[in-house]
Subunit: 265 residues, 2 copies
């Protein structure tokens, strides 16, 4: 009914739609025939006044939206040992987490680790745009494990989580087992596909830290967090705060690093 009544009128989403002024905006929107949705903290509030407001919305054909996914999609911003400038970037996202929690807004945080499209083409080197064929720069000793996820799969797992009670107020981690590998293992996989051995140049931590600082380089600092500090894999996912995507959705045929690398041959 809303979509017929709403022909030609924009869809309206009200964040805070049961609040002091939000409820009047929602009422006007529904009355004027806009397909209307509200983001609410609690779709079944104990407070009878709030419950009555929500029932009024439902009677008016308003859609109740129940969960917020802030834009994160990288490291877990609450569990890392990042240096600047990544520290500040992660800190900003953690600050948004705290605001969401303080407001009691239902959430899912998605920690998808390395984007395959950004980090695999260069074989996890920063400032490189093509896959290496001669030489590859490895940060640290190359034995710390990082995690990659194809962007398509980040989309799929995120959307799977939308209506899933198991991901409510949890961090959804993407840790596809086949995509959890060290920089050395990644290089070996690529060497096998190339049919040749690359020269591996190892960058010690102190030199990496110097490169991160002058000028400040956020991609290098994130790489430091992952390859030197192990921040993709150095903690267990406790059910009190998190769930793992490939375990929740074993039927999703995720793209493996092995398959993804074939795109660059």
């Amino acid at each position: 009914m809303a979509s017929v009544a709403g022909e030609g009128r924009s869809r309206v989403l009200v964040i805070g739609g049961t609040g002091y002024i939000g409820r009047f905006i929602v009422a006007a929107s529904a009355r004027e025939g806009h397909p209307t949705a509200v983001l609410v903290r609690d779709a079944a509030p104990a407070d009878p006044a709030k419950a009555a407001v929500l029932q009024g919305f439902r009677d008016a054909g308003v859609t109740i939206v129940k969960r917020f996914f802030p834009s994160e999609y990288g490291n877990d911003v609450d569990r890392n040992h990042a240096v600047e400038p990544a520290k500040t970037v992660f800190g900003g996202k953690a600050h948004i987490r705290r605001a969401i929690e303080a407001e009691g807004i239902p959430y899912t945080y998605v920690s998808s680790n390395f984007f395959a499209g950004r980090f695999l083409r260069s074989l996890a080197q920063i400032g490189v745009t093509e896959p290496p064929t001669e030489k590859v720069l490895i940060m640290g000793d190359g034995n710390v494990k990082g995690i990659f996820a194809a962007e398509e799969d980040v989309g799929t797992y995120t959307i799977k989580a939308v209506d899933d009670p198991r991901t409510l107020n949890k961090i959804l981690y993407l840790r596809p087992p086949s995509n959890t590998l060290s920089h050395n293992e990644l290089v070996s996989l690529w060497e096998k596909k190339l049919g040749k051995t690359l020269e591996r140049v190892y960058l010690p931590e102190d030199e990496l830290l110097k490169k991160i600082r002058a000028p400040l380089n956020v991609a290098l600092a994130i790489s430091h967090s992952v390859w030197l500090k192990g921040d993709h894999t150095n903690f267990e996912i406790d059910p009190s705060f998190g769930v793992e995507a490939t375990q929740l959705y074993p039927d999703v045929p995720y793209i493996t690093v092995d398959e993804y690398l074939n795109r660059f041959l």
Copy 2:
């Protein structure tokens, strides 16, 4: 079609849906049968790659959402002479304005001035919950004009603005002529309804500033901005940045202060 396919699946709104990871989330959402909407900066981008992404969304039945209304609904946060703590509150909202503009997100800011429900019951006194029948406290000389708008009308004008090209990237001011009056005029109106004269106690600015500071009182500081500095009415609305609601929508029968006060008799 989206609503049938989406039965039982939550509505999904993606902010930044044409971005690096957003587009994959939108694609997964539409594919999984969620009624899906995206907030975009530009619904007809010149960049052919962005245009192709948007066309793909439309082909998948995705709704394009085009404008953001941040939560403001008070003073114009860019045009005021507020003292602390109101200065910081307004500054926070101005900061959000700058972020919206920097990102190129289409917007409308609604400056609705005083909420009638919050400010009329007390006859614009702070910390008072019932209409005065003997004595009324007036800040300053009581001759500076402020503006009131009923919450219902704030909702109505806001929603009128949603699809109106005249309010795109503009501040929508609510300045209903019948609701623009000084504190003295407001008291006189109430006295006429009561059929008696109230004792008017005038609070000079220096005493008001002391009351604002100990302890910090945001409602008093906003009142200072309005009744001492005249921030509801001390500037013209230039078409380059703003439009006025009752002029844009003369057919909306707004609730006057005179009518609103009858609720308290």
